[in-house]
């Protein structure tokens, strides 16, 4: 007939033991998401850009577009 005595101690500790691992795990997931969603793609984008970069070709394109003041487009 008598009810079980409810837990009266260690309630905060129980809450912390439940939530802190989740908090750490979520923050690590957020950091990993940023690393693999932003940091690594950005590094790869710069590496890919310079791997195929032809300085002369790009310079000539910019020159013909009239971007520079020290060098006018050919024919001008």
């Amino acid at each position: 007939m008598s009810l079980a005595k409810p837990a009266m101690r260690g309630l905060l500790g129980k809450r912390l033991r439940f939530h802190l691992p989740i908090a750490f795990a979520l923050s690590l997931v957020a950091a990993a998401a940023f690393k693999y969603g932003v940091t690594e793609p950005r590094k790869q984008a710069y590496a890919d850009f310079y791997k195929q970069y032809d300085t002369t070709k790009e310079f000539n394109n910019m020159r013909e577009a009239g971007v520079f003041e020290s060098v006018r487009p050919t024919g001008k």
């Binding site: 309630l11 939530h19 932003v38 940091t39 310079y50 310079f59």
Partner: protein, 230 residues
């Protein structure tokens, strides 16, 4: 240059700026880690019916929240110091240019071989042609050879100024009576914009910096032409 609604840095045009970009991403990742942790804990602590929420002492948690921040700080400090020393390496410049700040324009002196010097005033808004950028264009650009280490000696003739070009990862205070040195390598040809970065009077916002990186042969032709025009 910056573009509307831009949130991050401008695209890097020098190796140092690329390193700074990646370091910023690393530091921001750590900030995100800490912010997520703290936000979760705040929500967990605020959304509870428990009335006795205050731990009086616990050796374990004290050790954790002492050691973990120390480790995080080391993870930030090591790449930071690496870049700091990278920026200070002996860089054997191919060219030295003096950038002098005045109220309210920059002047550039190329004195390695001949005496070439010119002033660089902002192009007023009413004189812009279509395609030019408001408050960023100058009448004479600082032309440099691409993929060459350039040393810039920065000083000022009157009050404090600061010579800054974000895409090259360069900012150096121009102090009257003092010669500050900075260096950069333009990784690719192009036009790179900056603005004075130290309050210097009424027209502080109207003395921009424009660096034009071109292949060496074109730089040589330009400097010959500038000397003839002088």
């Amino acid at each position: 240059m910056a573009h509307p609604s831009q949130l991050g840095f401008q695209d890097a045009a020098s190796p140092v700026m690329e390193e700074l970009l990646h370091f910023h991403d690393h530091a921001l990742m750590i900030v995100l880690l800490i912010s997520t942790l703290v936000l979760y804990i705040i929500v967990a602590m605020v959304s509870t019916k428990l009335t006795n929420k205050y731990i009086l002492d616990s050796q374990e948690i004290e050790i954790v929240w002492t050691v973990l921040p120390a480790v995080i700080l080391i993870l930030i400090a090591l790449p930071s110091l690496r870049i700091l020393y990278l920026m200070d390496e002996i860089n054997d410049p191919h060219l030295t240019i003096k950038a002098m700040g005045h109220q309210w324009y920059w002047s550039y002196e190329y004195t390695d071989y001949e005496d070439l010097g010119f002033d660089s005033y902002m192009v007023p808004t009413q004189d812009l042609v279509p395609g030019q950028f408001r408050l960023l264009e100058t009448d004479h650009r600082m032309v440099v050879p691409v993929e060459s280490p350039i040393r810039v000696l920065v000083s000022a003739e009157d009050v404090l100024h600061s010579w800054a070009v974000p895409s090259l990862g360069v900012k150096m205070d121009a102090v009257p009576g003092r010669l500050n040195q900075t260096a950069f390598i333009a990784s690719r040809p192009g036009v790179f914009y900056g603005q004075c970065s130290e309050i210097c009077g009424a027209n502080h916002s109207f003395m921009p910096i424009v660096v034009e990186a071109v292949p060496l042969e074109h730089f040589e032709k330009w400097s010959t032409m500038m000397l003839e025009d002088a």
